[in-house]
């Protein structure tokens, strides 16, 4: 009798706990629905509102001449201005430089600067600042990470306050694009840079940009506020005057699940670095929608040809490389892990100057049977019947390197399965980014997954020119013919000739199967409904936030009484858990 009484008490206690929790939820639910509906959305841009954005990695620091990490670029684009910027159609548009002329032999560039721009510290913007910035980047003791972009510049002359002359050692047709691209062309204020020295960009930053640096808590938050006197915005942007937003705050949230939840809870307005897997979730969530943009983000598997420091690669044999290219199910990856991505047929994104549709007929498509044939012909047969092919004693098990992020691992796991269907084994080794790149340069691997964003065709130079051998040309592909053609792409002034040489390089890469190009990724932002972004063009700029504006929104009110219900919940779960266990352990 005593036993039965105890079990009834237990069940009673559990039901009470559940009741409390359920009532807590219901109470909360009603409150939400009775919230006043948001007033009708105003048509034109409304100025005001603090804009909060969440990113995965932290900003390094804010001196454009000394940092080049992606996260830092988002912030420096708002604090500094560049001479020229990309228009929506990826054409070069004027910004701080009103106009510019290029000499016929491509050795001299003359920029005429705007006269109304001013630095945040009040100093007027003159050509002296441009010379100071470029000299600082090229100065060897500064160890600037972006010095390699300006290798060809001889020197910079400033005849008067508002004209800048750049003389080149060798012609480089891509100089303007390099300046426009990301933060390489941003101009720093000489006075502040000298004044703060080492701490410039760390504790203070001064440029001509639409926002001024305000505060920073390393590893968690960074805030910039509106620059009221800003009237010299680039003409191609929708708003050239002071930005609509009062301030921008970047919050560092490494965990993607948490970023999404903060977005849906309304604590942030925009979430960057959303992986494609969460696209479905963003679509159904209330009050939030995904904003898809096409960054020039090319995913590819890079093959190793030459011997590494300790290991000779299996992919030295071209047939293995071709078989791998045939065996990878690119559509399958796109369908499951990369919704919205488009199949890559060559190195260059269709919207990048230098892309040529003719490359399509050289590209290999998914054909496992063909892959098996190629392997059979090359003598890779499965002699010991263990499921993977081998040849004169060496098992065909590729060593693949990847990063720990979920999307990277998913793609590699999918490829591993695809390759196993045609008898090629693959061991996946996960390294965090610091060791990934240095090990990749050492070369003791067969294949590694890589994704890189580059807005002009110059990427081919870095990937295939022998001068770039240990890195970033990690294949490494050393071939005079390719070097000669690549030199033309940079030096010649005739655009058709550059187009043909770009095409030649891409065809060479596909024929020698140096890489297995997968797809161009569709970038995803999670954006809350009350945010309006005029345009996001391919180089992932949010046109430096000038055009973005926010509707006045009612922030979510969260009932404080929920604390009690919360604790009841944990107690309830505990009681339920242990009564189940107790009943379980009571049986004889």
């Amino acid at each position: 009798m005593k036993k039965r009484r105890e079990t009834t008490i237990q069940l009673l206690a559990c039901s009470v706990a559940v009741l409390i929790v359920v009532s807590g939820c219901i109470g909360q639910e009603e409150e939400k629905t009775t919230e006043p509906t948001i007033t009708a959305a105003p048509e034109g841009p409304v100025s005001g509102g603090a804009y909060i954005e969440a990113m995965a990695d932290d900003v390094q620091f804010l001196d454009p001449t000394r940092t080049s990490t992606r996260a830092s670029i988002y912030v420096t684009r708002t604090i500094y201005d560049s001479l020229v910027v990309y228009g929506d159609d990826m054409s070069i548009q004027p910004s701080l430089a009103e106009s510019w002329t290029v000499s016929d032999d491509g050795l001299q560039y003359v920029f005429n600067l705007r006269k109304d721009a001013k630095f945040h510290c009040g100093e007027p913007f003159t050509s002296e600042a441009v010379k100071y910035t470029i000299d600082k980047i090229m100065d060897p003791d500064e160890h600037s990470p972006i010095a390699y972009l300006y290798q060809e510049i001889e020197n910079v002359e400033i005849p008067d306050d508002y004209t800048v002359v750049i003389n080149m050692k060798a012609p480089n047709a891509l100089l303007l694009e390099n300046i426009a691209h990301y933060n390489f062309g941003l101009i720093v204020c000489p006075k502040c840079s000298e004044q703060y020295g080492e701490d410039f960009g760390v504790t203070a930053a001064c440029g001509t940009g639409p926002f001024k640096f305000e505060s920073r808590v390393p590893g968690s938050k960074l805030t910039v506020v509106r620059n009221e006197e800003y009237t010299w915005g680039p003409s191609c942007r929708s708003n050239t005057g002071p930005p609509y937003l009062d301030s921008i705050t970047w919050r560092i949230i490494p965990e993607e699940a948490t970023r999404l939840i903060e977005l849906e809870a309304g604590n942030i307005d925009l979430a960057r670095d959303i992986s494609p897997e969460s696209l479905a979730e963003l679509v159904e969530a209330k009050g939030v929608n995904p904003l898809l943009y096409k960054p020039l983000n090319n995913w590819w598997y890079c093959f190793r040809i030459k011997d590494g420091s300790e290991r000779s690669p299996l992919t030295a044999d071209i047939n293995v490389r071709k078989a791998v290219d045939y065996a990878i199910d690119k559509e399958g990856i796109i369908k499951s892990f990369m919704p919205g991505a488009i199949l890559a047929d060559s190195w260059l994104h269709p919207s990048v100057w230098g892309y040529d549709a003719k490359i399509k007929d050289y590209v290999r498509s998914y054909d496992p049977e063909k892959a098996k044939e190629v392997l059979e012909e090359a003598g890779w047969t499965d002699t010991n019947g263990d499921g993977t092919r081998d040849k004169d004693g060496r098992e065909l098990i590729l060593k693949c390197m990847t990063l720990p992020t979920t999307t990277w691992q998913n793609i590699c796991t999918k490829t591993q399965y695809d390759l196993s269907q045609v008898g090629i084994g693959m061991d996946i080794e996960v390294y965090d980014s610091a060791s990934f790149f240095s090990l990749a340069t050492k070369g003791n691997w067969d294949i590694y997954l890589m994704n890189y964003r580059f807005s002009n065709a110059d990427i081919l130079y870095y990937q295939f020119h022998s001068s770039q051998a240990p890195a970033p040309n990690r294949i490494p592909w050393e071939d005079e013919e390719t070097d000669r053609i690549l030199a033309i792409t940079r030096s010649s002034t005739d655009s058709q000739e550059r187009l043909d040489s770009y095409f030649w390089v891409q065809k060479m890469a596909v024929e020698n199967c140096l890489t297995a190009n997968l797809f161009y990724e569709k970038g995803i932002y999670g954006v809350s409904d009350n945010l309006h972004i005029p345009s996001v063009h391919d180089s992932e700029e949010l046109d430096s936030y000038i055009g973005i504006w926010k509707e006045p929104s009612t922030s979510h009110t969260i009932v404080l009484s929920a604390c009690l219900a919360g604790i009841c919940f944990i107690l309830g779960a505990n009681l339920m858990g242990c009564s189940v266990l107790d009943l379980l352990s009571r049986f004889k």
Partner: protein, 315 residues
């Protein structure tokens, strides 16, 4: 006085310990492949840029020179500048350390405030229905993986019910915003050490209740409540206090997962990220901070233990 000598002896021991911790850390860091220069420079940067960056960060100097500078600089009080943020390490650490201490303290307070009464009641009502509830609940508590509790809390509280924010720190705990932000991570941390405290209070209370002096106290005609509070509790809490101290140290060292999931800007997460980024000065600073907190807590625990239990002399 004996106590001061004892504390001095313990504090003196910290100097060699820091030296040993640093050496072990330095060995580990030299073995880890890859370095920060590769990370800061874009993947497309040629090797010269990476060499230049290594030069600037002083990674090119021979290992011995780096080691000596690495170890002695702590005693000079200069923890150096973080490779990534280029801010002095001490500036970054102070804020992050306070955040972590705040989170762990609130978590531990919840666990203690809930744990000790539960343990005492379970001991008094031994083998009753209530006692068996608590025991199975405790087994449940110590077996569940922490990240599971946290993910579920985020899913249920953060997402479906939306009662509490699940990320960032809203400010100090005396502000409403600060409280709202700390409640979920603190509850999760509390849930794992709550079970431990309840179990320990119960067993030490049972030990004490079976002692002879409790019988003497009862034979004096004292009320049961008085016997429990003045006589039994004081004795039972001595071992509990030591374990709470050790638990605090254990919890403080293991907040990495909680801080990563709840995006709490604590020192655990800072260590994790700095190891991923190979930012040596930051790693060294963070690990030293955690080690120092560990030592201070253990010393405090021993002092409280001595203070509570008169029988033990300061050996």
């Amino acid at each position: 006085m004996r106590m001061k000598k004892y504390i001095l002896k313990r504090l003196l021991w910290i100097v060699p310990l820091i030296f040993l911790v640093q050496t072990l850390l330095f060995l580990l860091l030299t073995v880890i492949p890859g370095d920060i220069a590769v990370l800061i420079a874009t993947p497309n940067a040629p090797p010269e840029t990476i060499e230049a960056l290594r030069e600037e960060l002083g990674l090119e100097r021979p290992l011995i020179v780096q080691y000596i500078d690495y170890v002695t600089s702590v005693f000079r009080g200069d923890l150096g500048k973080s490779f990534i943020f280029r801010l002095p390490v001490s500036e970054i650490l102070v804020g992050r350390l306070i955040n972590s201490l705040e989170l762990v303290t609130v978590g531990m307070m919840i666990a203690v405030v809930a744990g000790i009464p539960l343990g005492v009641i379970a001991a008094i009502k031994r083998d009753s229905l209530y006692d068996r509830f608590i025991c199975t609940g405790v087994l449940f508590g110590i077996s569940v993986p922490l990240f599971f509790i946290e993910l579920m809390t985020i899913l249920i509280f953060g997402l479906y019910l939306g009662w509490f924010p699940v990320s960032q720190r809203g400010g100090p705990i005396w502000t409403v915003e600060g409280l709202r932000h700390i409640i979920l991570p603190a509850l999760c941390l509390a849930s794992i050490c709550l079970a431990m405290i309840v179990r320990l209070t119960r067993s030490s209370m049972l030990d004490v209740l079976s002692e002879d002096y409790i019988l003497t106290a009862r034979s004096k005609g004292l009320k049961e409540r008085v016997v429990i509070v003045t006589h039994a509790l004081k004795n039972a809490l001595i071992p509990v206090v030591t374990v709470i101290g050790l638990q605090y140290g254990f919890l403080f060292g293991n907040t990495v997962v909680t801080e990563v999931i709840f995006d709490w800007p604590g020192i655990g997460r800072l260590t994790y990220e700095s190891i991923i980024m190979r930012d040596f000065p930051l790693i060294r600073g963070a690990v030293l901070c955690i080690a120092l907190v560990f030592i201070v807590i253990n010393l405090l625990v021993d002092l409280i233990y001595l203070r509570l239990d008169p029988r033990i002399e300061y050996d």
